[in-house]
Point group: C2
Chain length 316, copies 2
Amino acid sequence: MNEEQILEAIRPFTAGIGDDAALWQPSRSHRSAISSDMLVENVDFTRDAMALQDVGWRAMAANVSDLAAMGAKPVLATVALGFPEATTLDEIVELYRGLATYAARCKLVVVGGDLSRAPALTIAIAVVGEVRTSNVKTRAGGRPGDVVAVTGRLGAARAGLELTRHPQLIAGDLREEALQALRRPESRVAEGRFLAASRNVTAMIDCSDGLSTDLGRLATASECGAVVESVPLARSACAVAEARGEKPEVFGLAGGEDFELIVAIRARAFRHVAARYAVRFKRELLRVGVLRAEPGLEWNGVPLEASGWDHFAHGR
Amino acid sequence: MNEEQILEAIRPFTAGIGDDAALWQPSRSHRSAISSDMLVENVDFTRDAMALQDVGWRAMAANVSDLAAMGAKPVLATVALGFPEATTLDEIVELYRGLATYAARCKLVVVGGDLSRAPALTIAIAVVGEVRTSNVKTRAGGRPGDVVAVTGRLGAARAGLELTRHPQLIAGDLREEALQALRRPESRVAEGRFLAASRNVTAMIDCSDGLSTDLGRLATASECGAVVESVPLARSACAVAEARGEKPEVFGLAGGEDFELIVAIRARAFRHVAARYAVRFKRELLRVGVLRAEPGLEWNGVPLEASGWDHFAHGR
């Protein structure tokens, strides 16, 4: 197959292939936001754990999650794909189908389609979004005393990953919940925009490297520390952890791959924000702990090391 | 080394590392433009031909060239880097230094810095630019009779590539010209903006895959064909081609890796545009041929096949 054939096959999933650059009209009174990410086979994903369509979905969701953490609405994404010689056209189409399916859920347009040979399947995505200037939230606005909360329960994607390695661990609905969280994760765009619009929300980050790592980043950027009081876990995470004989909290603290948001909220406003969140999303905004002046993270009275995913310190 | 150490080392070359996404304020009355590109070691570049600083420079120039071809001004770039385990911190810093050096020349801010393990050094860049809505030029506006021109002489980068393989071919100034074109190429941002501002310029594309391939793309997008009358070549391209016993024109037609722009201009306005270009840039806008109604490319009275670089049809 040659480049033109591939571009023809992926055209249904993209807009704007066919010029050197893709154009869009940015909204007035908004800032633009951009984030980029590279996923590499056997480093960031394996094909025995996930179909290529799921790989595409998850890759797009991971990028969109970075926008959600800024309170931004997704606008468009560019995709550059590197693939080994043995890759078939069908495989490339499956991957793009997954990317495009998640993109369509977010009303995000996929533009461009750079292709390259590579020794391993490599997906580089850049997503552009927009956020009203007055609503911009970063990692850095938290203050001691702020309540820390997450937009949903943690650990299900990690449980899903365990299940791809040990399929017999659990069965039934919880098994489905975990595999769905791994293969078809949702990012929290609506939640991020809702929370970013509140003056009482002081900092946000997404939880994709695990609660301990990402809360650590938020706290450090905010020149604070944090005390973790509880780790809200998905039921599937508890079930898989129990079956493996592991502490369930580890699935949330060090698990990673969850696209929930971690949010710092002024203590006096937490109840109010949480109540509005529950009405709007029919789910709870879950209290995790508090920011404190003293640096470092603490859990159960002992210091908590960042134990999430670091590509370079650990192998997978 | 761990992720934090690498981020610390590349921080001087970037802005905006430290949040999930980077923010900017788009200009009113402009459209935004985005283009992305992936470069893979031993596919798109080899380290025996180029130092890592040159690899970074060229990667950034290649991306900026896509903006230049739309008449856009570069604003920012995101870089995602994949690298093998054996890569040193110094190597990563050298690569970023090259990226940042070229970015600074274009007044382009490098934001973000996603890092991943990968089996081969992999550089994914997305560049964002801006173009006044009334100035947008694409590949598709050319009409039969339009003059086709290029912003500079072709083939020097290809000559440089030959020289890295056969260092004894030529010596002296022409050798330096060719190696410079390979390792420290310039993109044509100012030229692209100047030309895009003219109503008589009907279509533009950059020449990075070779004149025959890229002129073919412009002609096809414009629902035209084209006759190539002459291939303006760099002196170093002629010298190297002669030393290799090859037709010099092939270095321009099939060479690729040049970041000159190919431009279609209304025939009646060509002299005027070329004269203004010469005054502004102290270089000639070089006539290559004309667009015609009949599809396909012709050179010296015979059909010209697209013979530029296709990653998948050929090996390198």
